[in-house]
């Protein structure tokens, strides 16, 4: 078990280093850092001086090393566009994205599992068919379109919900600004959370349904029925539990992509999160921000993958070969 953990940790570090390499390459080779930082009047001599000062003439390996060591303490330099330290920019906007991601992930999971189980148990019913058809449309609808249409219906026509922004936020300890404690904050969260979570919900629902149908066909379910166990025990005690094991792990992996998809949702709803920051950095080729965002996302994914692998281990007893007993 410890060997397993160590191996995964090493893998994760390797991935992070690779991503760091890409991010660093971005930094150094895309555009001219000096040109982006200084005005037109700076002389060549001054630029050369700056270049020397920033260590841009050092060998590649040295520069990479500096980059990584700086990254480890969270120093990603200054944004070309906003002239502020990148880390500060990211940290100030991270809570908004995280809140959105977690709420929509929760929504996607709860409804995804719910619908998935229902459509698996009640195959062929009209409600099941309707849900399946709607899910197909859900997969074909681009996220941004869902957001825009939701705004049209609920914010413009019905005027029930706000169409952009986070509403009022409350500052918690440590600088975390949350929208969950105010009514306008919660109202503002609804449409973006649905938009972000809808695609995930559809995926989870289809996964749960397929998995559950497979499980319901197994011998152990047949045997459970042959023992006279109640429908509830069979469907939820046995079938659901076996279904959820692979589903939970896959859903965990989805959490990472939710954070990435937040880019789109934040743009649609003008949500002041990390995704919107990234989009602007792509538009204006603000390399430090791009590089930092890349590293951040990679970290999130790597950590989530690690946790999910460990979770699998905990949940599925077959993977735990610690007991030496093997009778005959």
């Amino acid at each position: 078990m410890t060997a397993f953990i160590i191996r995964r940790l090493l893998q994760s570090i390797l991935v992070m280093l690779t991503v760091a390499l890409v991010a660093f390459a971005l930094f150094r080779f895309v555009g001219d850092p000096i040109a982006s930082m200084v005005g037109q009047e700076t002389t060549l001599a001054e630029r050369e001086e700056l270049r020397e000062m920033l260590g841009l003439n050092d060998p590649f390996v040295v520069q990479f090393f500096t980059f990584v060591s700086r990254a480890l303490v969270g120093d990603f330099g200054i944004s070309y566009r906003l002239q502020q330290p990148v880390m500060e920019l990211i940290l100030s906007r991270l809570p908004a994205t995280l809140e959105l991601a977690l709420v929509s992930g929760f929504f996607a999971f709860v409804f995804g599992v719910g619908f998935g189980v229902y459509t698996a148990l009640r195959r062929g019913g009209w409600l099941s068919s309707t849900i399946m058809t709607v899910s197909l449309i859900g997969v074909s609808l681009p996220t941004f379109l869902i957001g825009v249409l939701l705004i049209w219906v609920f914010a413009v026509e019905l005027q029930w919900l706000p169409s952009f922004g986070r509403g009022e936020v409350v500052v918690l300890g440590g600088g975390w600004r949350t929208g969950l404690l105010t009514e306008s904050g919660r109202a503002s969260l609804i449409l973006p959370a649905i938009t972000l979570g809808l695609y995930q919900m559809t995926l989870i629902m289809r996964l749960v349904r397929a998995e559950m149908l497979e499980v319901l066909r197994t011998d152990y379910i047949k045997f459970a029925r042959a023992r006279g166990l109640t429908n509830r025990a069979v469907n939820f005690g046995h079938a659901l539990k076996n279904t959820l094991v692979p589903v939970i792990t896959i859903t965990g992996l989805q959490l990472g992509s939710i954070i990435a998809f937040a880019i789109i949702t934040e743009t649609v709803f003008q949500w002041p999160g990390v995704g919107a920051l990234f989009i602007n950095s792509v538009r204006f080729v603000d390399v430090p921000v791009m590089a930092a965002y890349l590293m951040l996302i990679a970290l999130v994914f790597v950590v989530i993958n690690l946790i999910v692998d460990l979770l699998y281990y905990v949940v599925d007893p077959r993977l735990r070969m610690d007991r030496a007993s093997t009778g005959h």
Binding site: D219, R225, R227, A233, K241, D316, R318, T326
Partner: protein
């Protein structure tokens, strides 16, 4: 034999509606199982043995369905029961053991959890009582150190041990009838005899009857009291094991017996029945066996024979004996 039989099946018909028409998988099969009796049900793959078991316990997979006949448990009809009453019969009055112990057990629950759940579904008792019963049960089926091993997961057991656990589970609620569908086919040969013994002993102890479904005639010879021979969804012959084996009457049964090699055999080739069992959608009219029968008569090709009583709880479905019986009665 005047007591009400434990299980009584009369003219059972099982059909499968398909796009190309309805297929009859079981065509008017009738038999009884007495209390405490072991009935072997023998036949080739595809003859329909498992289907009969599934039909009795009410677990036929749709679109298959019971299209005719009656199934009675201690005189009461069970084939027409609603879902909930049928569920209560499953496990409590009829138990079932499946073929593959590897896939019969839920890998995510310990043996204890699965046993206790089954026990408490049918018998109201406390968790502790249920656990005691479970341990005793495991011990009875021959799992060493039962009290400790009951907390293990299924994958910690070997194939033979797992099947013992399955037997324990099937008998946990003390059913009167146990249907065993190929219980040893997936096991090592060395272990098969043990499992059959365990099954037989524990059922005999509790006075439970057994319907032993298998294609292995050797197992039947060792274990069963009576044997029913199934062919293409119809009963060819049924009777006490010794009689049927030593003195098979239906030509198909004779062919079956002849094809089993024995130590004292001196022939160099095994007897083979030419041809093969017909598919469900290609069953010939009259007696299903007529294309392959060495003693076929004209009548066999047009009329299907009924079950002829042969005395001593023996029945054969063959025109050869109808004629003989008629003579005996009128001659």
């Amino acid at each position: 034999m005047n007591a009400t039989p434990l299980l009584s099946v009369r003219d059972l018909v099982v059909e499968f509606p398909t796009r190309r028409g309805t297929l009859r998988a079981i065509d008017k099969v009738s038999f009884d199982i007495a209390e405490g009796e072991v009935l072997g049900m023998v036949g080739e793959s595809g003859a329909g043995k498992s289907l009969i078991g599934a039909a009795i316990i009410g677990l036929l997979e749709p679109p298959g369905r019971i299209a005719g006949g009656e199934i009675r448990l201690r005189g009461e009809r069970i084939d027409t029961l609603a879902a909930e009453p049928m569920r209560r019969i499953r496990g409590k009055r009829i138990g079932m053991v499946f073929q593959d112990p590897l896939t019969s057990l839920n890998p995510l629950y310990t043996v204890a959890e699965q046993l206790i759940e089954t026990i408490r579904t049918h018998i109201s008792c406390s968790e502790r009582e249920a656990r005691e019963r479970a341990v005793a049960l495991l011990d009875r089926v021959g799992i060493p150190a039962a009290a400790r091993r009951i907390n293990d997961y299924p994958h910690h057991f070997s194939g033979g041990m797992r099947q013992r656990v399955v037997i324990a589970l099937a008998l946990a609620a003390e059913p009167d009838l146990v249907i065993a569908d190929e219980p040893t086919t997936a096991l090592d040969v060395s272990v098969q005899a043990q499992i059959i013994d365990v099954l037989k002993e524990i059922c005999a102890e509790r006075g439970a009857s057994v319907m032993l479904i298998t294609h292995d005639m050797g197992v039947i010879a060792e274990t069963a009291d009576r044997v029913a021979v199934l062919y293409a969804g119809r009963l060819a012959e049924i009777g006490p094991v010794r009689d049927v084996i030593q003195n098979a009457e239906h030509p198909y049964t004779r062919g079956l017996m002849g094809s089993i090699p024995t130590l004292t055999q001196t022939e160099t080739r095994l007897v083979q029945i030419p041809g093969s069992m017909p598919r469900l959608d290609a069953i010939p009219p009259g007696c299903a066996f007529n294309p392959r029968c060495p003693q076929v008569m004209d009548r066999c090709r047009s009329d299907r024979p009924g079950l002829v009583q042969r005395g001593g709880r023996r029945e054969v479905s063959c025109w050869l004996y109808e004629a003989a019986e008629k003579e005996a009665r009128h001659g």
